[in-house]
Amino acid sequence: MAIHEPQGNWWQPLSKDEKIWFILALVWMLVSFLYMPIQHFIGVQNPPSESYRVSAEDFEALIEAQEEKYTVGEENGFPVVRPNPDEPVYLKASMWEWTPVLELEKDKTYKIHLSSVDLVHGFSIQPINLNLMVIPGIDYVVNLKPTSSGDFRILCNEFCGLGHHTMVGKINVI
C-alpha cells in the first residue's frame, strides 16, 4: 500500500500499459517543447526579446519629441501621432492612460518602444487579443506589423490602482 514502506528492491520493470502511456506522454511533450524554439524560426508571432533600461524622464522626452514631429490631430484630448515606419515609435503607459493615439499603416512593420513611467501595466490590444507586459524603467522593443485595419483599443490588464478599469488607449490602422 502507498501508506506503507515498500520492501526490498522496488526498481522493477513497468507493466505494458504503463510503458505505452509513458512513451506516448513523452513523445507529446517532446513535440510541445520543440515547438517553442522552432516557432522562432518559422513563425511570425513570437514574444519580442529586445529590451533596455530607460528612465521615466528620458522616455517622456522621447514621447514629447515624437509628438512635436508627427502629431496629425487630436482625439478625446489625446494627440494622434502618425509615425514614420522607418523610425522608432514610442508608446507610454501611465496611470491611467496610453499616450499617444497611434495611427499605423497596415502591413508595415513598426519598431514600437513600450514603457511605463509609474507602475507595472499590461498592454492588451483588442479585439485581436495580443498581450504584453509593460514595466517601469524598462523599454520593451516590439516589432509589430498590423495585418488588419480598423480601430483597435489598448486595454490595461495588470492592476495599476483604482483607475485601472479606465485605462483604455487607441490604435488606428489605415
Binding site: 513497468l14 507493466s15 517553442m36 514574444p47 492612460e97 492588451s124 492592476f159 478599469h165 483604455v168
Partner: protein, 502 residues
C-alpha cells in the same frame, strides 16, 4: 521508543498525541479560512457578474486581494501543515520530533493571517495578491506575509526533522511510504518557494519603511513568482499525495509501479519550480533562452510527471477494484466504485478536473508563444480555478472527509449532504472555469472592475458572446458557493457536533 498513542479503529493508523492535536487545530483553522475566503470569492463574483456589479471599485479590489490570499494561500497552507504532520508522523508511526516547533508554526501563521486580513480590509493594502512594486502597501501588510511565510517554512522543515527522528528510531528502514514521499517532495518545493518569499518580501518590507530606496520591478516579478507559482506547485504535489493516500485507504491500492511514481515525484522536485517562468513569458528583460529553457526543456519534464501520476493513481484504483471482483469489461470498476463515499468521489473528481481543466490549459498557456494570446486575460483565472480549486481544493475536501472521523473521533453529520457535495462543487467550478477561459479567449482582462469601460476615454465593447459567458461564470460560481457552503457545514458541524466515537 514509547510515546503516547492510540490506534484508530477506522483506518488502523497509530496516532500520536502531540501530532494529533496539531493536525486537528490546523485542519479546523484551514476550513474556517476556506469559509471566509469563499465568502470573499462570492463578493468578487457578484461584482464581476455584469447583471449585479455589486461592490464599488475600491472594495472590489480589497475583497479580491482577500479572496486570493485566503483561498489560495491561507486555507491551503494550513491544510498542508496538517498534511505535513500526517505524512511525517502518523504514516511513519512515529512521534512529533519537536512539538514546540508546531506551536510556533501555528502561532506565526495565524498571527500573520490576521494582520494581513486587517490591513487589506482596512484599506491599507490595495495592491492585490501580487503587490507588484512600485505599488506600495502598509509595512504591516508585508510583515504579516513574512510572519505567515516563516511559520509555514518551519512546518516544511519540520517534515525533515520528523523523518530523521523516525528513521533513527527505526520506524522506517530506508524508503518513505509513497504518500510520505509525495509530502516530502511538496515540503522541498515549499522550502524553495518560501525562501524566495523571504528573498523578496523582506527587502519590500524595508522599502515600505523607507530603509531601502527602490526595488527593481523586473527583479521583483522574477523573485516574487519564485514564491507565487512555486507555492502552487506545493499544492499540486500535496494533491497528488492525497490521491495516492485516498486510493490506499479506500482500496488498499498499491502504486502500480513504485519506480515510475517515485520518478514522477523526483521530476517534480527537480523541475516543476521553474514553471514560475510562465508569468514572465511576455515580459521585457528576460531573454528568449531564459524563457525557453525554463518553460520548455525543463518544465515539460514536470508535466510528464503529472501525466504519469494522472495515469498511475486511477490505474491503482482500477487494480484495487478489479481485485474486489469488478472485473467485467473496461469500466465495471468505475460504475461500481463507491460514488456515495465523498472521500472517493472528491478524489476522482479532482483527478479528472485537474487533468482536463487545469493541467492541459496550464501547459498550453505556459507555452512561450501561446502566452501572447492568453497572458493576463480571464483565461488565466479560469486555468488556476481548474488547478487550485478543481484540483487541490477538491482533493483536500476528500482528504478532510476521510481525516475528520479519524482524528476527531466523530462521525460526519448530514451524510446525504456530504455525499452530494463534491458533485455540486465540482459542477460549479467546472462551469466557472470553462466560461472564464472562454471569456478570456475574447480578451476579457483578469482583475478588472468594469469590463464595459464606461469611464474610459475610449469606449470598448467586447463581442456580444462574452455577455453570455459573463453570466455563466456567475451561475457556475453560485453553484460552487453552494457546494463550498455544504462542505463547510458538514465538516465544521462534524468537528463540533458529530456523534462521538469511543
Amino acid at each position: 521508543m514509547s510515546f503516547e498513542k492510540r490506534t484508530c479503529e477506522i483506518s488502523g493508523l497509530e496516532i500520536e498525541k502531540n501530532s494529533e492535536s496539531m493536525i486537528k487545530l490546523n485542519m479546523a483553522t484551514a476550513i474556517i479560512f476556506f469559509a471566509i475566503g469563499g465568502a470573499a470569492g462570492l463578493l468578487v463574483l457578484l461584482t464581476r457578474w455584469p447583471a449585479i456589479h455589486l461592490l464599488p471599485v475600491e472594495w472590489y479590489y480589497r475583497w479580491l486581494t482577500a479572496h486570493g490570499l485566503l483561498a489560495l494561500l491561507v486555507w491551503i497552507i494550513f491544510f498542508e501543515v496538517a498534511l505535513v504532520h500526517f505524512g511525517s508522523v502518523t504514516l511513519l508511526k512515529s512521534r512529533l520530533a519537536v512539538p514546540i516547533l508546531s506551536k510556533i508554526t501555528y502561532g506565526l501563521m495565524l498571527g500573520g493571517t490576521l494582520l494581513v486580513v486587517v490591513m487589506v480590509l482596512g484599506g491599507q493594502a490595495d495592491v492585490l495578491f501580487t503587490s507588484y512594486v512600485p505599488l506600495q502597501a502598509h509595512p504591516l501588510y508585508y510583515l504579516g506575509i513574512i510572519l505567515f511565510a516563516v511559520g509555514s517554512l518551519i512546518a516544511f522543515i519540520h517534515f525533515f526533522i520528523n523523518a530523521v527522528v523516525a528513521k533513527k528510531e527505526g520506524e522506517y528502514k530506508r524508503t518513505l511510504p509513497m504518500v510520505s514521499f509525495g509530502i516530502m517532495a511538496a515540503s522541498i518545493i515549499g522550502i524553495m518557494s518560501i525562501a524566495h518569499g523571504a528573498a523578496i518580501y523582506i527587502p519590500t518590507f524595508l522599502w515600505s519603511l523607507g530603509i531601502i530606496e527602490t526595488i527593481d520591478p523586473s527583479a521583483y516579478r522574477l523573485v516574487w513568482w519564485g514564491l507565487g507559482h512555486t507555492s502552487q506547485q506545493i499544492n499540486v504535489c500535496m494533491m497528488v499525495a492525497c490521491w495516492y493516500g485516498i486510493a490506499a485507504f479506500l482500496f488498499k491500492a498499491k502504486p502500480a509501479s513504485e519506480k515510475l511514481c517515485r520518478s514522477a515525484f523526483v521530476l517534480y522536485i527537480l523541475f516543476i519550480n521553474v514553471a514560475s517562468e510562465h508569468h514572465l513569458l511576455v515580459d521585457p528583460v528576460f531573454s528568449t533562452w531564459h524563457k525557453i529553457v525554463n518553460t520548455s526543456y525543463v518544465m515539460h519534464l514536470a508535466v510528464l510527471a503529472s501525466m504519469i501520476h494522472a495515469f498511475a493513481v486511477p490505474a491503482s484504483i482500477e487494480m484495487g477494484l478489479r481485485k474486489q471482483g469488478y472485473n467485467n469489461g473496461l469500466f465495471e470498476w468505475l460504475k461500481k466504485a463507491p460514488w456515495g463515499n465523498p472521500a472517493f468521489s472528491a478524489t476522482f473528481i479532482s483527478i479528472v478536473l485537474f487533468g482536463f481543466l487545469g493541467g492541459t490549459t496550464g501547459v498550453i498557456f505556459g507555452t512561450e508563444q501561446f502566452s501572447i494570446i492568453r497572458h493576463n486575460t480571464w483565461a488565466i483565472t479560469g486555468h488556476f480555478h481548474g488547478t487550485v480549486v478543481a484540483g487541490t481544493t477538491i482533493a483536500f475536501m476528500g482528504m478532510a472527509y476521510f481525516l475528520i472521523p479519524v482524528f476527531f473521533k466523530r462521525d460526519l453529520i448530514m451524510p446525504g449532504v456530504a455525499k452530494l457535495q463534491p458533485f455540486v462543487y465540482g459542477t460549479g467550478i467546472t462551469i466557472l472555469s470553462i466560461t472564464m477561459m472562454a471569456a478570456g479567449t475574447f480578451g476579457v482582462p483578469r482583475r478588472h472592475w468594469d469590463y464595459n469601460f464606461s469611464d474610459a476615454p475610449f469606449g470598448y465593447q467586447f463581442d456580444s458572446t462574452v455577455d453570455i459567458f459573463m453570466g455563466l461564470v456567475g451561475i457556475g460560481g453560485l453553484i460552487a458557493v453552494v457546494g463550498g457552503a455544504m462542505f463547510v457545514f458538514v465538516t465544521l458541524g462534524s468537528i463540533f457536533k458529530g456523534n462521538k466515537r469511543a
